[in-house]
């Protein structure tokens, strides 16, 4: 069996007595798209925070291939190849979208240069390609505050993709987006990630998104994986339909 890209073993953490991760075990393979579903407060976002070093677990380990990243900072984990997109897009609001992407590219290709301009040809070319990939090239000169929520979400994901990660974690990539936009956005994201051979782990509440785009689904409840399988199996599971989807 090939080594998983991400392996999480027996992860535990609690906040003021409330258990957010209770012996979570997860593996993600190369190029795999995995969705996490579950009720509010189940610990889904906390799990992403644990994987990216934002929250330190009280027990358990997180491995990126053979590297134990459990105690590393978000910065170190990012540099090792796990990028993150947020439920509320995290952008630099004083910069244009294009400059946001340039900063992300510089972060990967050579940030600590005090006298070389950020806006250089090689970076511009790459930024342009990335923005075209997700259909944001037309709004590159705008600031994030001038864009729709859907565009901001895409821009947030472009920043993460500019790092050329091995794994992208996304927290509700289509939340706050109109139902007209969300499938277009998800289609764009998935196409771009597949093209770059990036694996993805995404938290999602929209079961149609999960059904269409996930290779595998993890059902999260009370800080652990209650069930996992293909979207077809999971979304037809009576327990999941009653307790997560809300359909009996």
């Amino acid at each position: 069996m090939t080594q998983p890209l991400l392996k999480v073993s027996n992860l535990k953490v609690a906040f003021d007595g409330v258990t957010a991760a209770d012996g979570a075990n997860v593996t993600i393979a190369e190029n795999e798209f995995v969705a996490i579903i579950g009720p509010n407060g189940a610990g889904k976002t906390t799990f992403l925070n644990l994987c990216t070093g934002y929250v330190r677990p009280s027990a358990g380990d997180v491995f990126l291939r053979d590297r134990n990243i459990t105690r590393l900072t978000p910065r170190a984990i990012t540099r090792l190849g796990i990028a993150r997109a947020f439920q509320l897009p995290q952008l630099f609001t004083d910069h244009s979208i294009f400059d946001n992407v340039l900063l992300a590219i510089a972060a990967r290709r050579g940030f600590w240069q005090a006298l070389t301009p950020l806006d250089r040809d090689s970076y511009r070319e790459e930024a342009q390609q990335l923005l075209e990939l997700v259909g944001l090239a037309k709004v590159a000169a705008f600031r994030s505050t001038e864009l729709s929520e859907g565009m901001r979400k895409l821009a947030d994901i472009v920043l993460a993709m500019a790092l050329k990660p091995q794994l992208l974690l996304m927290d509700e990539p289509t939340s706050g987006v109109s139902s007209d936009e969300k499938f277009d956005i998800m289609e764009t994201i998935v196409r771009a990630l597949r093209a770059e051979k990036v694996a993805a782990l995404f938290v999602e509440h929209d079961m149609e998104i999960v059904r269409r785009y996930a290779d595998r689904v993890l059902v999260w409840n009370a800080g652990r994986v209650m069930a996992e399988g293909t979207p077809e199996d999971i979304l037809n599971d009576p327990y999941v339909r009653e307790n997560v989807v809300g359909v009996v």
């Binding site: 990216t52 900072t73 978000p74 910065r75 170190a76 990012t78 540099r79 990028a83 993150r84 995290q90 952008l91 630099f92 609001t93 004083d94 910069h95 400059d99 340039l102 900063l103 992300a104 510089a106 972060a107 990967r108 050579g110 940030f111 600590w112 240069q113 005090a114 006298l115 070389t116 301009p117 950020l118 806006d119 920043l159 993460a160 790092l163």
Partner: protein, 312 residues
Amino acid sequence: MRILPTLLFLAIVAALPIAVPWLQFVFTLALAHGLAALGVALLLRAGLISLGHATYYALGAYAAAFLSRSVGVTDFFVLIAGGILVAAAAGVLIGLFMVRYRSIFFGMLNLAVSMILFAFLAKFYGLTGGTDGIRVSTPTVFGAAFDRKTFGDVLFYSLLVIIALVTFGVTRYLRSPMGEALSAVHTNEVRLEYLGISVNRVLLSAYTLSAALAGLGGAIGGIAIGHVVPEMAYWTGSGHLVLVAVLGGIGGVLGPLIGSVFLELVHTLAAGYASDVWNLIVGVTLLFVIFFLPQGLYGLPARLFGRKEAAK
């Protein structure tokens, strides 16, 4: 081209003292303060207000004075290099601690450090000359000795060249990834960390540069006056630098320099022609700028130009 505003500013500052000679010394001190205020403005881009940058202004001034008095250095450029190095070294050491703090804590901790330095300079008489300060002899320039008046001319025009080089260098820095990241720190530290960039390292670089600029200003100020005193580290000096940075505006590198020259002019003219109410005049002028030019004086040309464009 952004070099044009710099050249225009330097040309005006260079030309005015030809018509009004006493302005030369006023402008020399204003530009020295302006360099320090430029350092403060760098940190303002990251949303950090230093209420203690007089620390580095004083360190630059005292470093030049010590080099002159105790080491026997006489060359002007070596003295200011010493001022820059000492201030930058202090900036690295103090910055390692400061960059962990934000908002009021950052401001107050810088203020505290400046007051410690002020007390040190005032109390350690044997070393620092106490409240009497230290006299700085008129330096030589590449081996050439000048009388005080001629040196004033050499200093002034050398300072204009230094300003040109500094504005060029700082502009390059602000357009670099490290410089662009400064305003990114202000808007989203979380995203910077999730891009794999150390926010503290970005801030430490800027803090060190800002300390070096303040040290450069301090060394020039100390040499221009020919005397350094503990009041250079006093908190009102730090407040003055913040005021100048905000007045001039942080939108461009020239802003703090313009702000400093403007404030010094208003101050000098108000004190000369209306000595009873000069504080009132300075205060009203500041209120006017703050209310009507929120981007600072540097934003004035852009605003006027923008209005003309809109009118068309």
